[in-house]
Symmetry: C2
Subunit: 188 residues, 2 copies
């Protein structure tokens, strides 16, 4: 049975890792630094996670699982328009609630590879979102617009330049911009 201490150490480890990642980047954060910040040995870190990649994946995992659930929920909506609205609002919301993580995820190197495995790999989130937003047989214009909207929302949400904007302001403008890119009318 997993003890409370173990759970706590694992949780603290992930929180510490995220903090160090935002400060020094994934490449710039060594297992030694994480271990020192926790007051344990490098090998103790290695006990909880077999590789450094496992740590970066675990840091990003909660947000990715949420995104996966969002896509599932959107898939079950009947009207294509409702699907697009649901996924667009969900992604903007997800980005806003993870601004720090998203910032690391897209500006900083390192975590990108680990995330890409989830995005293009087993979950194939990118593919599923793409299909949901522009259908299976979309023309080039729609595909490009979808890419610009998704990448733009994600990177703008994590941008240091826009960090000064409060959540509600950023949400409003991200949604409006994304809807304009995808050619959807402004919502009532």
């Amino acid at each position: 049975m997993t003890t409370d201490v173990a759970v706590d150490t694992r949780t603290r480890l992930l929180a510490t890792a995220l903090r160090l990642f935002t400060e020094h980047g994934v490449e710039g954060t060594s297992l030694q630094m994480i271990a020192d910040a926790l007051g344990v040995t490098k090998a103790a870190v290695y006990y909880h996670f077999k590789t450094k990649d496992e740590i970066t994946e675990a840091v990003a995992e909660p947000a990715l699982r949420e995104l996966s659930r969002l896509v599932d929920a959107a898939s079950q909506l009947r009207r294509p328009g409702a699907r697009i609205d649901h996924i667009l609002e969900g992604i903007v919301d997800l980005v806003l609630r993870n601004r720090v993580l998203v910032g690391v995820l897209f500006t900083d190197p390192g975590i990108g590879r680990a995330v890409e495995r989830s995005l293009h790999g087993e979950m194939n989130l990118i593919g599923r979102i793409h299909d949901l937003l522009c259908g299976p047989d979309a023309d080039a214009a729609t595909m490009v617009a979808t890419h610009v909207a998704l990448a733009g929302v994600a990177m703008a949400g994590g941008s240091p330049t826009l960090a000064e904007l409060d959540d509600e302001t950023l949400r409003t403008h991200l949604l409006a911009t994304a809807r304009r890119v995808l050619g959807r009318r402004h919502r009532p």
Copy 2:
């Protein structure tokens, strides 16, 4: 005086580095791999570049210098509209002519940090482009739209999913999308 052999070795080194970066990522490419591919020693590589970061910067430098010149040229145009058009078309063109590099630059870790130094650092390209596109005292809506447009164009241009689209098709749709994001009419 720099001999022809030295210039050639340096040039071959950068070409080899870019190729290995696209294949294995920046993190996944060691100086040993670059040296082996060139048929020299790791220390020989160090003669041409003092650090690994210097190599990644040198790989990205031509594109960044081009971007800098583009911003300079746009700055000297009188009409704000003409400035925006010039910089938008220039960026799309630049992204298209460097699809491979841009792909590495934004999906792969490692090179990002080196590039960010140029983008936010001495040249402050991001800041200058931002000012050119939305002026010094822009509202939140314009700032968000500008961010989405820039990030979206850059990432969509390097996206593996859109790699199948030919240059002309991608150029047309990237430009149209970016203009729509920024609220500019489609050009005649």
